[in-house]
Amino acid sequence: MGLKQNLHKLKEKYAGTKMAPAFNALHTFLYTPNETTHSGSHVRVVDDLKRTMNTVIMALIPCLIFGIFNAGYQHYAAIDNTLRLDPLGNFFTWDNFMLGAWKVLPLVIVSYVVGLGVEFIFAIIKKHEVEEGYLVTGMLVPLIVPIDIPLWMLTVAVIFGVVIGKEVFGGTGMNILNPALTIRAFLFFAYPTWMSGDKVWVEGAQAMAGQPDAISGETILGTLAANGHPVYSLWDMFWGFIPGSVGETSTFLILLGALFLIFTKIGSWRIMLSAVIGAIAMGLIFNGVVNAGWIENGSKFYGLMNETWWHHLIIGGLAFGIVYMATDPVTASQTNKGKWIYGFFIGFISIMIRVFNPAYPEGVMLAILLMNVFAPTIDHYVVQGNVRKRLKRLKVKTA
């Protein structure tokens, strides 16, 4: 094993120098280190943070591949509407893939290069190891932005998200807000015209605006918010042949990802399940409001409120957010009871924001960020329950 020996020698050489964290990050990518236990438990489980993060990335890969095809498909389908008659037949084509790959891969590369670059710099300055948190964030970011987002905007947002969202708190494991959503929220508020409306979801729509052959593609939520009727069938929504952010359209693949994460015990089923319950609860409440006749047909909330409760689960980024972002263990509630509460409110508030904020009709990002902020509070009260039990026990004893 020549490579192993050579890397080992290099590691010894770099040990203690400034560049050691950077070198070790690359070294440990190739080889699990020769580190042994010293005291305490002399044996350890095989799982480490790299494996954990890698599992989440594996769950995201189908969404990425689908997103690449969908980028091409939405572009060509916007030009030639007849393609939509047979989505499956016209979806997995070479043209779709080439166009999609041409647009999506740069997003992935920029996200990783910029994000990991910031991580490496901070690791070197603060003399700690490069932690794996960004591996997942870097994959999430390209999947939750519109296809046409300029790369410089993405760069600015990633730097903002990693520095302000994570590193200022102390890096991986210490952050309050989900870094990927911090990045998206930055884009959302800094460049709203690139993040919403009917011109951003289909490749080329922005560039061709105003021309005779202009194309547009409105998301289903956008249509509903304008009290319109979506042209897509429920099956299109479920399989994901609809416009939206790059990787979040296919509820089917997200569902597969969710099952994989739950099976591998990497994602919290408590959060996923309770978030779905929360979303259904809010959907049912709104349906009830409409049925009771409290909202008139002309109201600006009517379209979204009237949407059948379970349709909410397959449109917009809700499913993607619940499965891949709400379950981020660092920013979610850390107690099992807390996870139920945290998840429920993510689902509940997502649908609420969706309906009451028709200008930017997707609530899951803001709902998760909001609950990220409340997660420590939820945990505090859950833990206090245990503490109170202990105090009560003491009182009974001393009384």
Binding site: T37, G40, S41, H42, V45, G173, P329, K389
Partner: protein, 483 residues
């Protein structure tokens, strides 16, 4: 009616006499909810290769014996015997600098040859060269049935048996001043490759009974003994104890788990814990007047050629039994204790004061190509992230000492809780210890725990944090500031 309840509940709670009606209520609750049959649900039994075969050999007599003061946490030794001094088995070698009553005695008769000191002149190891035959200091016979608590306590202190009594909070040698609320003995171990006490205590009923009767006089509470539900423990026929049958995965056999289920430690309370083989030494002392610290150790682990049980003594050279059984490889980790809580010793080192297991496993000081991403079949995992130990729950594994990853901040949540049966929040506790928040530590239940309770969470930790060390530091801080 009340009388009936009283009669029904009485055997479970002597405290009832002192507490009147409140005691009746409590006893009733205890008899209903606190069954003597305890089932632990959360945990993880780690199955490793190299279980000790149930045959007992006598290890050759060790040439030297060593006492490491670091085995007695937070004790600063004050030497009584100088280098070159002669000792009998049972002669005091040193006492605690902070408490002269707390004596530590020689496990063997011979000549004290060396006091090895480390930084700041801290005594690291005291070596005694053994005589060919032991001579014992005679402490005199003391019948536990007819002796007073004071006499028993005095005898345990002067004979060096007191250090076998540990206390919670703080997981240190019991305070000689305070009376314990209860005394807990776990009569079995569920740790990987651990000593099977049902085997190693066979025929020791008399000694155990003497020690338990003596201990029962030192507390107003009870002596709780937890035995394995499926085993045939020698404790089952003994008196002066409250017997509980325990079942479930590791850490069911940890005394900390049993305390948490039977009667958790509250602020201001003290409970004692004693290990079963230590009871035998105590019992023999009371019955014969001799301090005869014999150990039946389980020599186990995948690197041992013929893993089996050995009769040896506290402080013996590990080599006496290691090379009798033979080791398969040079590059091994010899652990005095089990793989989850033991201390690393050199093959030429000595058996720890409290250990009844010696485990030898391969060192894991090698790199593994793409070890973090490839599917794994030959190591244990609590996830299913391309790890397949969930497919073969009965397979025995050959684990080495590799950490399988680097130290990281806490990221993953919920996996400690799966293996942690105590009614508290492990991650929050660890964080409270790390930031040295005494109020939070107290509120979360720090008085109830010992480092060993966090051995399993340490084992499953994805971030490879040193849980037991964190808890130890937290306990030490509390002891310094509060205790």
């Amino acid at each position: 009616m009340v009388y009936l309840i009283y009669k029904f509940a009485r055997p479970w709670s002597p405290a009832i006499k002192l507490e009147g009606l409140e005691g009746v209520k409590k006893a009733l609750l205890i008899s209903i909810f606190m069954s003597k049959d305890i089932k632990i649900k959360k945990g993880l039994t780690i199955k490793l290769k190299g279980e000790a075969e149930k045959t007992l050999s006598s290890a050759p007599r060790s040439r030297t014996f060593a006492i490491r003061p670091s085995d007695f946490h937070l004790i600063t030794p004050k030497m009584v015997v100088r280098e070159g001094g002669k000792v009998q088995a049972g002669d005091t070698i040193f006492y605690s600098k902070s408490n002269e009553l707390l004596k530590f005695v020689s496990p063997v008769s011979g000549t004290l040859t060396k006091i090895e000191r480390g930084a700041k002149r801290v005594i690291k190891e005291i070596t005694i060269e053994a005589d060919p035959q032991d001579t014992f200091k005679n402490f005199g016979i003391l019948s536990p049935d007819s002796s007073s608590a004071e006499a028993i306590k005095a005898r345990l202190l002067e004979s060096g048996c007191w250090p076998f009594i540990m206390q919670r909070p703080y997981a240190v040698i019991a305070d000689t001043e305070q009376e314990p609320r209860d005394i807990f003995v776990s009569a079995f171990s569920s740790a990987p490759l651990a000593n099977d006490c049902d085997f190693s205590l066979k025929g020791k009923e008399k000694e155990l009974q003497a020690a338990l009767t003596a201990l029962s006089k030192l507390t107003k509470g009870q002596v709780h003994v937890g035995v394995d539900k499926s085993g045939s423990s020698p404790f089952k026929g003994l008196r002066d104890i409250t017997l509980h049958t325990i079942s479930g995965p590791h850490p069911a056999g940890n005394v900390g788990t049993q305390i948490n289920k039977l009667g958790p430690v509250n602020k201001g309370e003290i409970v004692w814990t004693v290990a079963p083989q230590d009871l035998v030494i105590m019992g023999e002392l009371l019955l014969t007047g001799k301090f005869n610290p014999e150990r039946i150790i389980a020599l186990s682990g995948s690197e041992v050629k013929t893993p089996k049980y050995y009769r040896t003594r506290i402080g013996s050279e590990a080599a006496t039994f290691l090379y009798d059984s033979g080791l398969k490889d040079e590059n091994v980790r010899v652990i005095s204790g089990d793989v989850l809580t033991g201390k690393k010793i050199s093959p030429k080192g000595h058996l720890g004061y409290y250990n009844i297991t010696v485990t030898v496993i391969p060192e894991g000081d090698d790199y593994e190509f793409f070890g973090w991403t490839k599917p794994v079949f030959d190591k244990i995992s609590t996830s299913r992230a391309l790890t397949f130990s969930w497919l073969t729950p009965n397979k025995k594994y050959d684990l080495n000492t590799n950490t399988n990853g680097e130290h990281r901040a806490f990221v993953v949540t919920g996996n400690y809780e799966e293996v942690f049966p105590l009614d508290m929040f492990p991650m929050q506790m660890l964080k409270a210890c790390m930031v040295q928040d005494l109020d939070e530590m107290e509120a979360l239940g720090m008085y109830e725990v010992a480092p060993e309770d966090f051995a399993l969470t340490e084992f499953v930790c994805v971030s490879k944090q040193p849980h037991q060390q964190i808890i130890r530091n937290g306990l030490d801080l509390m002891y310094k500031e509060i205790g």
